[in-house]
Assembly symmetry: C2
Homo-oligomer: 356 residues x 2
Amino acid sequence: MSKYWSEIAKNIEPYVPGEQPKNKKYIKLNTNENPYPPSPKVINAIEQAANNNLQLYPDPNCDDLRNTLANYYELSSDQVFIGNGSDEVLAFSFMAFFNQGTPILFPDITYSFYEVYAELFKLKYKLIPLDDNFDIPIDSFCIKNGGIVIPNPNAPTTRYMSIECLKKIVECNMESVVIIDEAYIDFGGESLARFVNDYPNLLVVQTLSKSRALAGLRVGFAFGHIDLIEGLNRIKNSINSYTVNRLSLAGAKAAFEDEPYFKNISSKIINTRKKVIPYLKALGFKVLESKTNFLFVSHNKTHAKIIFRELKNDGILVRHFDKPRTHNFLRITIGTDEEMDILINKLKNIISKTYL
Amino acid sequence: MSKYWSEIAKNIEPYVPGEQPKNKKYIKLNTNENPYPPSPKVINAIEQAANNNLQLYPDPNCDDLRNTLANYYELSSDQVFIGNGSDEVLAFSFMAFFNQGTPILFPDITYSFYEVYAELFKLKYKLIPLDDNFDIPIDSFCIKNGGIVIPNPNAPTTRYMSIECLKKIVECNMESVVIIDEAYIDFGGESLARFVNDYPNLLVVQTLSKSRALAGLRVGFAFGHIDLIEGLNRIKNSINSYTVNRLSLAGAKAAFEDEPYFKNISSKIINTRKKVIPYLKALGFKVLESKTNFLFVSHNKTHAKIIFRELKNDGILVRHFDKPRTHNFLRITIGTDEEMDILINKLKNIISKTYL
Ligand SMILES: Cc1ncc(COP(=O)(O)O)c(C=O)c1O
Ligand SMILES: Cc1ncc(COP(=O)(O)O)c(C=O)c1O
C-alpha cells in the first residue's frame, strides 16, 4: 500500500490469471488456450504486416477487420467493435453501459473478472446462484437490474444455455444491457451474434483467444446495436485511440478467412473432449457436460487441491479456484490427444496413490 | 445518445486522433509518426514471434521486455511498467494515482488526452497557463494539487524543459504524483528516467511510437518507484491481464537492442528539423524552438486554418487544433528531407497565393 495510490488503486482486488510458466516443461491445461497453432495464413498475414508501415499508427477504427467480421456474421460493420482481447471489450462494456445505481447481475460461479470490473468501477452487483447442476436459473435474471453479464457457455462450469433461454433473459430486460460473453461458443454452442438486429439491448462478446488459437495476439470483439457499439467507441476513444495494433488487425482478419483450418482444429478439440470424458469418469471423476474447450471435474474421493498440486509436480498445470462452491473442482483445458493421454495416466497414479 | 449508455458514456467528449487515411496518396505529417521504418531486427523478431506459440497467452508481466528496458535505463525491472501504447499507460496512471478530490494540474496548452482522462475519471483539474513564449511556469505547479502531468518536451508546443526545472516541480510536490510524459524525449532532450530512484513521486512515461518508429505496434512504458509500478499493475490487472501481445513484446525488445539504428534515424530527423526551419522562417513563419519530431508554427499573414486546408488539398496532412491560444498554429511532423522539400514548395505556393 502506498500513500500515492488513488482510492481505487487501494481498494481493488485485481484478477489473478493462470500461470504462464516461462520454462517449457509443463503441459499447459490451465488457461484454456488452444493446443494447436493458428492457421498458417495468420502467420503469413502477420509477417506481411510486419513489413508494411509499422512506423504508422494502425487504423483507429479497425474498418477492415470490422468489415470481415460483419460479413462473417452477416451484420453491418457499425454493429462490430474490436478490442485488445475480450477482457478489454468487457471492461469497456462495464464502463459504457452500467451505472453506480441499481445492481448489475451475474452468476455466483462465473468468470471472476466480472466481479473485479464491478469493484473497479464501483458498481453494485448481485450474484445470482446457479442451481445445483450449475445451470443458470432464467427467472432469477428477470428482476430489476442495472445490467447483466453471462458467459455462454459459462466458465468455469462449461454449461451451455440454449438460444431460446438466453432470448428470454434478453427480452425480460429491455431496460438494461445484457452482455453475453461467448468466449467458448465455437466448441459446440450456437452464437447469439445473428440476433443483435432483434434486440437493442443485446451485446455479444467474442474472442480470438480460444477457438481461433490466438491468445498471444489479443483480439476480442463485440456485436450489438449501432448505439451500443457507439457507446463502446466513446469509452475506447477516451482511453486509447489505437487499442489494436497493425499485426493483430492483420492476423485477426486472416483467421476469419481460413474457415477450413478453424473448423478442423475446433472439431479436433471437440473429438478429444468426447474421447477423454469416459476415462475421467472411469477414474471416479464427476464431469459436467461441456460445450467448451475445457472440463470442470470433481473427484469422489480425492480433493481437487491435492490433485492440482500433484499434477503440477508431475508437470501438468490445471486451474483450481479456491471458492465456496467450486473448491473441490478442477478446470482442465482440452489439449491434444497425446496431452490428454499423459493427463489420464498421471491422474490414474495420483488417484490410486491417494486411495491408499 | 442512447438510453443504454452509462452516465459516463453520455458525458464524456472522446479524443479525436489525427486522420489515418487509407489511401496512400497523402504525405502524412499529422500524427508525429516516424518517417522511417523500424529496425530490420524488429521485423525479424516479430516474424519469429509469429511462428512461436501464438496460441498461448503472452507473459502477463512482460518480464523479458521489462528486463531489457531496466538494463537500458539502469533501473531494476520492478521499476518498469509496460502498456498497450503510452495512452494506455497514461490512462492507467490517472486511475492509479489521482483522486476525485483536489484538482490535478496540467498546462493549458498540452496533449489533449489529459483533459479527456480527467473527464472520464471525473477528476477535478486546473489548467496552468503557459507563458507568452509557451513555456511552462514552474512556480504555478507548486500549489496544492492532487497530481500533475506534464509532457517534456510539451506537445504540441515542442518546448523543452531542463531536468533542473522539472526536478523543482517534482520536489515541491512530494505529496502527489508527478507524471512526466516523455513521448518526444529522444529528439534532443534528456530523460528523467534515471532519476526515478531519487523521487518516490515521479513517474516517467515513454513510448515506442515516435523515436522507435513503432506507432503500429502500440507499446508504451513507465518508469517509477516500485510502489508506483505496483499501483499501475493493480489497475492493469483489474482491466486486462494481458495488455501487450506476443508480437509487441518481441518487437519492442528488439527495438531496444538495435541502438545504432535508433541513433541513426533519430539524428536524421533532428538534421531534417534543423534544415527545414530556416526555409519556414524565410516564408514568414514563426517557428517555436523544437526538441521534438514536429514543429509548431504560425504564419504572420495567412491563417493556420487556410494553410491546413490548402495543404490537405495538395496532398499533405498536418494537424490544426482549433483552440483559443493555438488556432493560428499548425503542428507539422518532421518527415524525410524529400517530404519536407515538397512541403516547403507547397507552402511557398499557398503563402504567395493568399498574399494576393
Ligand atoms: C468467460 C471468459 N471471458 C473472457 C475471457 C477473456 O479472453 P480474452 O481477453 O483472451 O479475449 C476469458 C478468458 O479466459 C473467459 O474465460
Ligand atoms: C504527448 C504525447 N503523449 C502520449 C502520446 C501517445 O502515444 P502512444 O499512445 O502512441 O504511445 C502522444 C501521441 O501523440 C503524445 O503526443
